[in-house]
Structure formats: C-alpha cells, structure tokens
C-alpha cells in the first residue's frame, strides 16, 4: 500500500517542495517535450509511409498491371496498408501528441513519469508496424478499418491504456477550476475509443457475432472511429488554437457545450446509415438515418461558433501558419458533416453507396478536417517544445497550398466521379423480351431506343409498356442501361485526377517532413545565432482587438 501511496504522491503536481502546483506553460511544454516529440516524429514517418502506399494504390486503380506480380503489393494488401498506416500510424500518433499537450496545458499541470508515456508510444508504434507488416504478409483480416492481424491487439490496447491513464491523471490533478471545452472533447475521446475498439474486436474478431451483426458492428466502429475519436480530438484542437492564436475568447462558450453534448448523443447511432439497402432490420437503418441528420445540430453550432470567432480577423488567420490549417480544417468539418447527413438519406445513398463518392467523403473527414487541423497544431506546438523557429516559411506555404489544393481536387474528383458512377450503376432501360414458358429473353436484335426520361429506378415494366412497342409475345423488362465494365471505364478519368491530387499531397507532405526534421536536428549553434523563435509569444505579440 505504501508503494501505491508513494506513486500517487509522485504523480501529483506540487508533491516536490521546490515546485509550485500551478505550473508555467513553459514548464508544461518542457515536461511534455520527449513524449510529444516521440509521437510527432512517429506520426510524420507514418504520414510519409501512408502517402507512399496511397500513391501506389492510386496508380493501381488506373493501371492494374502496375506491380501486380509482387504478391506483397497487390491492391488488396497495399490499400489496407495505406488505410491502417494513416489511421493508426499518422492520425493516432498526432492525436496523442496534440491531445496530451493541450490537456496538460489546460490542466496547468506537469506530466510526470513521462518514461511510461514513452514506453506506451513505443508499444503503439511497434504494434502498428507489426500490424502493417502482417497486412503485407497476408495475415490481414477482412474487416474494414480493422485489417491489422489480431495478434497486435494486446500491444495496441496496452499502449492506449497507458496513454489514456496519463490523460486522466493530468485531468485529475488539474490546477484550474473551469474545465475548457477542449478538455471535455479529449477526455470523452479517451473513454470512447477503448469502448469502440473492444466491442468491435470482440464482436467481429474474437467471438464473431452471427450474420449481419458483424457488418453492423463494423460500420458502427468505422463511423465512430471518425465520429468519436478523430472528431473530438480535431474539434478540441480547433476550440483551443483558434481563440488562442487570435487572442480572443471563443464567440460563445455556451454553444460549444451544446455542440459537445449533441455530438456525444447522436454520433454513436449514425454508423448504421452506411448499411442502407443491406439485409439489416429497417428500424436500425432508420435510427442511423435520423441520428445522421440530427448531427446537423452540433455541426451548425460548431460552425457558427468558429466563424463568429474568426469574423473580422481573417488577416490574422492568413499570417498564422497554425490558423491557415486549422481554419481550413474547421470549414471542412462543416462540409463533411453536411455531406455525411445528406449521404445518410435513402435517396442519396441509393446513388453514392458502393462508389468512389464514399471514398471522397472519407478523405474529406480524415484529411480535409482532421489532418489539416493536426498540421496546424504541429506548427504551433513544435516551436514551443523545441524553443526554436521553423526553418523555412516557404516550405510551410508549399505545404499548405499543395495540401489544400490537393485534397480539394481529390474530394471533387472522387465525389463527381462517384456520383456519375452511382447514377450509371443503377440506370435502367426498358427492353422488350420474348416471353416463353420458362424464361424471358431480351430481343437484342430489335431493341427500341428509349429516352432517358422514361428510365427510372422505381418504374415498373408496366409503366413503360405503353412507351415501348412490343410484339404480342413480348413484354417490357427494365435492364441495366450500362454494362459494368462501361461504368468502370467511365470512372477512369476521375481516377487519373485523383492520382494527380495524390502527387500534390505527396509534395506537400515532403515539404512538411523536410521542415519538421530540419527543425528537429538543426544545429544548436545555428539556433543560438537566430535568437528566440518568432512564433513564441514573447517575441511576437501583436495587439488585436478583443471583443
């Protein structure tokens, strides 16, 4: 018991007589330096790996023969490796670094025993590395967003538990009374992810549920990994960095709370809307549709709050590397959420499901929203961790413009191409068929021309029988207007555009990585010559009007 007691006192801020309980921001940054750097360096490396996998995947979409004879790099392998590298490698590491750093700062408490956080970081990244290797080696599961083999689950779970506990400890010993909305989001995300991950692992992989329950659990997990893990961390960052950099409080703190609780209540139900048309009870789908549409509430509230905070200060946004990325991400949050709500409607899902539109939507959420906000956060955090300036403004600008234009091109090309793909896949045309006793066969030799207006997905053959001339032994059937291969070919120009957008993103990521590692390894002499970093507040305090 005494050991537990001494450990308890060792994690409590101010337990040493020579330090005050309420730590200065510089002390907190110093205490978080090595764990945050470990997570950020890992995140940057995973981002580069994920980008490389994505480029190979994109090329394979238009040139299936590319690297087709290398069994480790077939489309199924490398596409899953890309997804898991950017989600569990890049996104999680960035979320750990940014989330823990914001939590520590808002709690005004130093992070103690950071070696344990470092161990957790090592376990996480070893787990993900083995998982990605397992995907390439053929050990992957068939469950989307959970493709990494199950033997890495204990490593991932143990690492997350340690990281989560450290966030809770920081919150428990916080030295500030009001809890800021970013702390709510981070704390909730820390609890939500283990719930999602454990239920999904048990019900899909370890004790698989029967039938369509697996599909339901899969989409519940995948949707909520974005909705209840990446989204809270992204919004926590936006709620912290926008007012912090501008130097003004958030427009309405009241609205931010409504946004938080609305997200908490509706988001977890929304995943079922991805299974519209599937063999799932209709009421389950309906609940998912209603929850998806209700997600408009927290989205509008958050969008209003961010917009009103930034209004009249756009110049300040433009001169800040952090805010350029964060505000781009915040705007994207509104767009992706409205798109998601629209996609949950049955009439829209009928077209977008099983098309590239969904892929575009996913990139809108994970990249345009979450990743852009994480980039902005890194631009703010790194100078404070290392007490030095970013080496190149030009590389920051290159990073922003390449990523902003690249992801916009990717979303537009996938969504437009996906919409065309969806409409063509369900398009029908009336065809007279010869009725025999056993079967009806199309009379291909005499297919009448039918106008597009006559073809609808809900029309019955009876509706069209009057419009199409038929012989006495014929009746009109609705058959697919396009052959499947024709639809596939029609998507190719859009996939080429997607590959071009990938090149832009890759250039942006390289610019970011060069600046990041250049800053990390910059010689000490050079730093001393340059003086204090201009990104830090002591060096660059510009008065702004506080509303």
């Amino acid at each position: 018991m005494s050991a537990i007691g001494s450990f308890y006192s060792s994690i409590k801020p101010g337990s040493s007589s020579d330090v005050s309980e309420r730590a200065k921001l510089s002390e907190i940054d110093a205490s978080m330096k090595w764990p945050a750097l470990l997570f950020l360096v890992s995140a940057a490396l995973w981002l580069l790996a994920g980008t490389f996998f994505a480029m190979v995947t994109a090329i394979k979409m238009t040139n299936p023969a590319y690297l087709a004879d290398v069994e480790w790099l077939t489309f199924g392998h490398i596409r899953s490796a890309h997804l898991n590298a950017v989600i569990y490698g890049w996104s999680f590491n960035a979320a750990f670094a940014v989330g823990l750093w914001i939590m520590a700062r808002l709690c005004h408490s130093r992070i103690r025993h950071t070696a344990i956080l470092m161990v957790a970081g090592c376990f996480w990244n070893i787990g993900v590395s083995i998982g990605i290797f397992g995907i390439f080696a053929g050990d992957m599961t068939s469950v989307e967003w959970l493709e990494m083999p199950t033997y890495i689950t204990p490593l991932i779970a143990f690492a997350f538990a340690l990281i989560g506990v450290w966030a809770v400890i920081a919150f428990r010993f916080r030295q500030s009374s009001p809890v800021y909305v970013s702390q709510w989001y981070i704390l909730a995300a820390i609890f939500w992810f283990p719930w999602l991950y454990s239920i999904a692992q048990i019900m899909i992989l370890f004790e698989p549920a029967r039938g369509t329950v697996q599909a339901l659990t899969n989409w519940w997990y995948a949707h909520n990994l974005v909705g209840l893990w990446l989204t809270p961390i992204g919004l926590a960052s936006a709620y912290y960095f926008i007012p912090k950099v501008l130097g003004v409080p958030i427009h309405s703190y009241y609205l931010s709370f409504i946004g938080f609780w609305a997200l908490a209540f509706f988001s977890s139900w929304a995943g079922a809307s991805h299974l519209i048309g599937g063999p799932v009870p209709a009421w389950v789908i309906s609940v998912g549709v209603v929850a998806s549409v209700m997600m408009i509430l927290p989205v509008v509230v958050t969008a209003m709050n961010h917009h009103m905070t930034v209004r009249g200060r756009w110049n300040q946004v433009w001169i800040s590397p952090t805010l350029r990325f964060v505000v781009f991400g915040a705007i994207s949050y509104t767009l992706v959420s409205v798109t998601g709500a629209a996609m949950a409607l049955r009439q829209v899902s009928e077209i977008t499901h099983f098309t590239h539109f969904t892929v575009g939507h996913t990139h809108q959420g994970v990249y345009a929203f979450f990743t852009m906000i994480m980039f902005g956060a890194v631009y703010y955090i790194m100078p404070r961790l290392l007490e030095r300036e970013w080496p190149s403004a030009m590389l920051i600008r290159t990073h922003f413009w390449c990523c902003a234009s690249g992801i916009t091109l990717m979303i537009v090309s996938l969504m437009v191409g996906g919409w065309i793909q969806g409409t063509q896949m369900i398009a029908l045309k009336p065809v007279p068929v010869v009725v025999t006793e056993n079967a009806a066969t199309p009379t291909n030799a005499e297919q009448p021309k039918a106008s597009t207006e006559q073809v609808t997905t809900t029309a019955t053959s009876a509706t069209h029988s009057a419009a199409v001339q038929t012989a006495p032994d014929q009746e009109v059937k609705l058959l697919p207007k396009y052959e499947f291969i024709e639809v596939v070919r029609n998507t190719i120009p859009w996939l080429h555009l997607r590959s071009m957008s990938g090149i832009l993103l890759m250039v942006g990521h390289l610019a970011f990585a060069i600046n990041f590692f250049w800053m990390a390894v910059k010689p000490k002499e050079q730093r001393d010559r340059e003086g204090k970093p201009t990104l830090l507040v002591e060096e660059n305090t510009q008065s702004v009007s506080a509303k």
Binding site: L25, P178, P243, K244, F257, S320, I396, T534, A546
Partner: protein, 69 residues
Amino acid sequence: MEWSNYILLGFLGGGLFFAVAAWAFRWAYKHGQLTDFDTGAKVIFDEEEPAGTAKDCFPPKRSKKGKGA
C-alpha cells in the same frame, strides 16, 4: 457466443455508456461548469499567454548567412 449473451453485453455496455454520460453531465452541472461560461471561455489565457495578443505568424525569411531577418 449465443445471441442472448450479445444482447446482455450490448445492454450492459450501452447502459454503462449512458450512465457515465449522465454522471458527467451531473458532475458538470454541480460544479458550475454549465453556468459560469465567461470564466470558462477565458481559461486558455493566462499571464504567460494573455488575451489580446496574437501568438503565431510565419517565420522571417532566412538570410544567406543563416541569421533570421
């Protein structure tokens, strides 16, 4: 695992989730987190990084000698 066990697991997990959410909401209400919004909004500022100052801009151009401009 049998269906009944999944239903039990679902109800237990869901019940626990909503119980924690309700407890968190009650805790926030009792500790004044839902009333004093002005103080809450300003908690991100302190004497080191006070309100009213912008805290981020692009780094200066680098001179050829490696010194900041």
